[in-house]
């Protein structure tokens, strides 16, 4: 995967580049918005990771210029500004995801993966299949090895989110944001995600079948196709 990192702060850029290349990805770096814009227009990247506040041209202006030029490369904006209207402004200028600093390496990596995936799968796809798991979005039903699972609407949404990111870890923050409509910056004050996962697991896993919903320590949760791994 080719990632373009646009970040003005040398120290932060170094760490981010280490994280990105640590995943085995090819990472290019631009030190300001203008250079970032030039590079993003000149070459094809799978994803752009851009800081919001930068000298010369800030991340949002760069993104706007990029979108106006017809470049639709999925973009994640990094920012120390986490207030809701800041996030809205970020998403309105064309960001596909918005991550507030500081963040974990795992959070960044998981979000980049989900972002690239989201642009690849068809959101209107009626059936999502992961191994022996069949999820039908039109009837909101899920089957494990042909047997229907009795899921609540939230559990169904959670399973669908995991399935659409199958193979990759999704973090608690991502689940809170995407499944529960919860602000990623806010602490829910209760183990909402672990409890939801354990309930889903109780309905999903069968003693006779291989385990498919894994906990990835320090990273989050991962739905796998046991035969593909």
């Amino acid at each position: 995967m080719r990632v373009l990192l646009v970040e003005d702060e040398a120290g932060t850029a170094e760490i981010l580049l280490a994280i990105l290349t640590g995943e085995g990805w090819t990472a290019s770096h631009a030190a300001n918005g203008q250079d970032g814009l030039k590079m993003a227009m000149a070459e094809i990247y799978d994803v752009v990771v851009a800081d919001r506040t930068m000298p010369r041209m800030d991340g949002l202006s760069m993104l706007q210029a990029l979108r106006e030029a017809g470049v639709v490369t999925p973009t994640l904006v990094l920012s120390a500004l986490g207030a809701p209207e800041q996030r809205v402004a970020g998403l309105e200028s064309g960001a596909d995801d918005y991550l507030t600093k500081p963040f974990d390496a795992a959070e960044l990596v998981a979000r980049i993966r989900a972002l690239v995936r989201r642009t690849r799968y068809n959101a209107h796809e009626k059936v999502t299949i992961v191994g022996d798991l069949h999820i039908r979005t039109d009837s909101k039903t899920a089957l494990r090895a042909g047997e229907p699972l009795n899921l609540t609407p939230k559990e169904f949404q959670l399973l669908l989110f995991l399935a659409r990111n199958a193979g990759d870890a999704v973090t608690q923050r991502m689940i809170l944001e995407n499944v529960f409509d919860w602000r990623a910056e806010a602490d829910p004050g209760a183990p909402i995600v672990p409890v939801a996962i354990s309930r889903l697991r109780a309905k999903l896993e069968r003693p006779a079948l291989p385990e498919i919903l894994k906990t990835v320590r320090g990273k989050g949760y991962r739905l796998i196709d046991p035969h593909a791994e």
Partner: protein
Amino acid sequence: MQSRAAPKRLSVFARMVLTVSLVFALGVGATLGLVYLLMDRQIENLLAEQIRTDIAQFNRIKGEHELRRVLTLRLQSEQSVGGGSVFLLQTRDGANPRQSANVVGVSDLFGNVSQWPEGLPDSMNAPRLVQDAGRTLLVQSMTHGEDLRLLVGRDLSAWATVRNQLATTLLALSALAIVFGAVGGLLIARRLLFRLNGINRFCAQIEESGLGARLPVAARRDEFDQLAGSINGMLDRIAELARLNRIASEQIAHDMRTPLTPIMATLDRLSQPGAAAPDHEMLAGLAEDLQRLRGMFDSMLEVSHIEAGGRRAEEPVDLADLARDTADMYRPWAETCGIDIREELEPAAMRGAPMLLRQAVGNLLSNALRYQEEDGHILLRTGSEGGGPFVEVIDHGPGIPQEDIPRVTERLFRRAEHRHMDGHGMGLAFVAAIAKAHGMRLELLAHRPGHAHPGLRARLSMPRGPDSNAN
């Protein structure tokens, strides 16, 4: 302080006095000018009336002889007593009437006007102003008999003295008005400035002596008292903020020390010469402690951001729907704790940022869940009271001691006995910040006062319902 206030005071003072006296003098001047004009008109009308009476009288006289007799009498009386009447009798072709032996004192020209005014017709319906030998006359002409014309009028010069006196009096009055205006302006300005200076001195004093002092507010509640009240209110708010800030700083310092201590200890041990290489577990512990620190920083930043105004991303929201969703989100955890979340949800429409409102309801729920004993229930209610939407969460836990309630919403405040519990103590501070950003009120009340477990009723409400008509 005085030197700084002085130039401004002078200019305001001077402007006030000038404006008041000018406006007053202009008003009085205009009034008197009007009086003068009206009186002038009145005099002319009066004279015109007299002329008409004369003309009517002369019209009734039959024969030239009789006319001459009457005119002679009038002219004689005019000469001896005066009165400003003027007459001129002529034949229509402009020659003087035929001399008569019994007319006394009037020689070739019969009358006391030097000549028939140029262009004046022989007969007129209304009097008009003409000049004659340096006099201004108001005259009207009439014909008499076959071949005579008569000019009847009044000499306005006689009135000139009266007019001059009137003008002088009015001017004197205007001058007096300017003086009175100036004095009045001075008095008003001095009164205003006296009170303004009081406030000024007080503010200067605040700069020096701190936020403790308050302005006196008199019972009359005039604008200055309102200003004093506003300033006092502002000072209360500033003092409260300063106090909160101090408490928050102390709390932050204290709470930061807690996770910092083990981090420092571990790093200290690792940096000793000959220390064992750090193992995975040790590093994970360090990371966890740092994570906690970061969480606290994030939360504090967040609260300030929200307080600074998260209202821009707002849209119509029904608190009932939002509360139902949020309850669904927390219910699995509540069930794990053996607690039932009950709902009494009535529509409660308002405008707001749904993400923030959901967080507020979530924080109230997680707070209630933390303090609710096992096998109990907590109640989630929404609705509209007096047009103001509200949401409230009621638990049956230990509640909050009366004296702690005002401080609970302060940042990082946690009652000492609950310090061991998790959470950064920010929950209610978040709710308070979100409430403030939405113009809502957060109330914390004992649900069952006097009970061993009084419980807590945390209520978020819109004081009046300006937005409740939105949908």
